[in-house]
Symmetry: C2
Subunit: 216 residues, 2 copies
C-alpha cells in the first residue's frame, strides 16, 4: 500500500538550484532543463515535486518572504521609534539588494515572466509588515507621529519604499541623485509626512545610520 516516497533532499536541491539560477541570470535563466541538469536529474522531477514551474516559483517566493521577515525581525526596538523605522527600511532595502532577482519575482507582478502568483501568495507576504506596524505604533505613542492608524501609515511607508527599491533595481535612480540619496530623502520625507518634526527626523536618520555602521 505504501509506494516509493518522494525524496525531500531532491526537493530542497531543486529549490536551491532554482534560487541560484534566478540569482545569477534572473527568471529568464530558470528553465526546467537547466534546472534538471544543475541538480543532475530529469525535467519530470520538477513536476513530481512541484507540479510545474509556477509552483516552484511560488515556493521560491514564499522562501523570499520568509527571509525578508527574518531580516526585518533582527531590528531591535530602541527608545527612538523613528530611528527604528528607518532601520527597518534599511533592512528592507538591503534584503532586496542582496537578492535583486528574487525581489523582482516577488513584487514584479510576475505576469511579466509568465509565471503566475496567486492572491494567496501575495497575502502570504503581508505579515512582513508586522514589525513596521509596531514601530509606527510606538512612534505614534511617543508623540512623534500624528494620530492615525499605524497600519495605514506603515503601508504608506512600505509603498514608497517599494517604489524606491523597484526603481533602484531597474536602474532608474542614477541621474543626478543616486539611489542612496533618494533613499535618505525618501525616509526623511516619510517621517515628516507621518507627522514627525523635520529636524527630529534628520536626527533620527543620523542615529539609524550610526546603528547601521555599528552593525558592519
Amino acid at each position: 500500500m505504501s509506494p516509493r516516497r518522494i525524496d525531500p533532499k531532491l526537493t530542497t536541491a531543486l529549490l536551491e538550484a532554482a534560487a541560484s539560477l534566478v540569482a545569477e541570470e534572473g527568471v529568464a535563466g530558470l528553465t526546467t532543463r537547466r534546472l534538471a541538469a544543475a541538480v543532475g536529474t530529469s525535467t519530470t522531477a520538477v513536476y513530481t515535486h512541484f507540479g510545474g514551474m509556477d509552483n516552484l516559483v511560488r515556493a521560491m517566493v514564499h522562501e523570499g518572504f520568509a527571509r525578508l521577515h527574518r531580516r526585518m525581525s533582527t531590528v531591535r526596538a530602541t527608545a527612538d521609534a523613528v530611528a527604528d523605522i528607518m532601520a527597518l527600511g534599511t533592512a528592507y532595502r538591503a534584503n532586496a539588494l542582496d537578492h535583486p532577482q528574487l525581489y523582482q519575482v516577488m513584487f514584479g507582478s510576475a505576469a511579466l515572466g509568465g509565471f503566475a502568483i496567486t492572491d494567496g501568495d501575495r497575502q502570504h507576504g503581508r505579515y512582513t509588515l508586522q514589525p513596521l506596524v509596531e514601530a509606527v505604533a510606538r512612534a505614534t505613542e511617543q508623540g512623534r507621529f500624528r494620530p492615525g492608524d499605524p497600519l495605514l501609515v506603515a503601508q504608506t511607508m512600505w509603498i514608497a519604499l517599494h517604489g524606491l527599491v523597484s526603481l533602484e533595481l531597474g536602474g532608474y535612480l542614477t541621474d543626478p541623485y543616486d539611489a542612496d540619496v533618494c533613499f535618505e530623502a525618501q525616509l526623511c520625507s516619510l517621517m515628516v509626512g507621518a507627522g514627525d518634526d523635520h529636524e527630529a527626523a534628520c536626527l533620527s536618520s543620523r542615529r539609524a545610520r550610526r546603528r547601521r555602521s555599528a552593525h558592519a
Copy 2:
C-alpha cells in the same frame, strides 16, 4: 542603386498590433508568430523593421513614455501648486491604470520577461518628470514647501507614486485599505513630507479631487 523601400505602414501596424497584444494578455502574449499573424505578415518582418523583439518592445516603451508625457502635460497650472502636484499624480496613476501591461513593461525592469531595456531607454523617460518638477518649484516659491532642490523633491514623489502604482497593478493593495485610500494617504504624506502644512494639504487634496470630477 535604390532598392525596395521599407513600408512605414507595416511598421506602425506591427507596433499597434503589438500594443494590443500586450494590452490584452501582457508581455507573455506577445510572440513573433502571433504578431505576424495579427498583421497578416511573416515573422521576419519583425526583424527587418525592428531587428528583433527587444527593439520592438523598446519602441513600445518609447511610445508609452510619450503618451505619459502628453497626459501629464494636460494638467494646467493653477494658483494652488500643491493641488497641481496632486492632479499630476492622479494623471500619472490614471495613465498607468489605462495601460497596465505597458506600464509594467516600462518600469518592471523588463529583465523579467527576458526583454532588454537599455539605460538610454530609461533616460528617455526622464523628461516625463518635467511638469512635476515645475509644479514643485512653484509650490516651493509659494512657501508651501521647505526650501530644497525641486528635482529631488519631485523625484521622491515620483518614486513613492511608482511604488503605489506598481503594487496596485500587482494586486497587493486590497487588504484593509484599497488602492484609492492608499493613493490619497500617499499624496497627503508626500506633501506634508515636502514641508506643506497638514491641513493645507488636505484642503488642496479636496481641491484636486474636485478638479478631477469636473473633468469627468
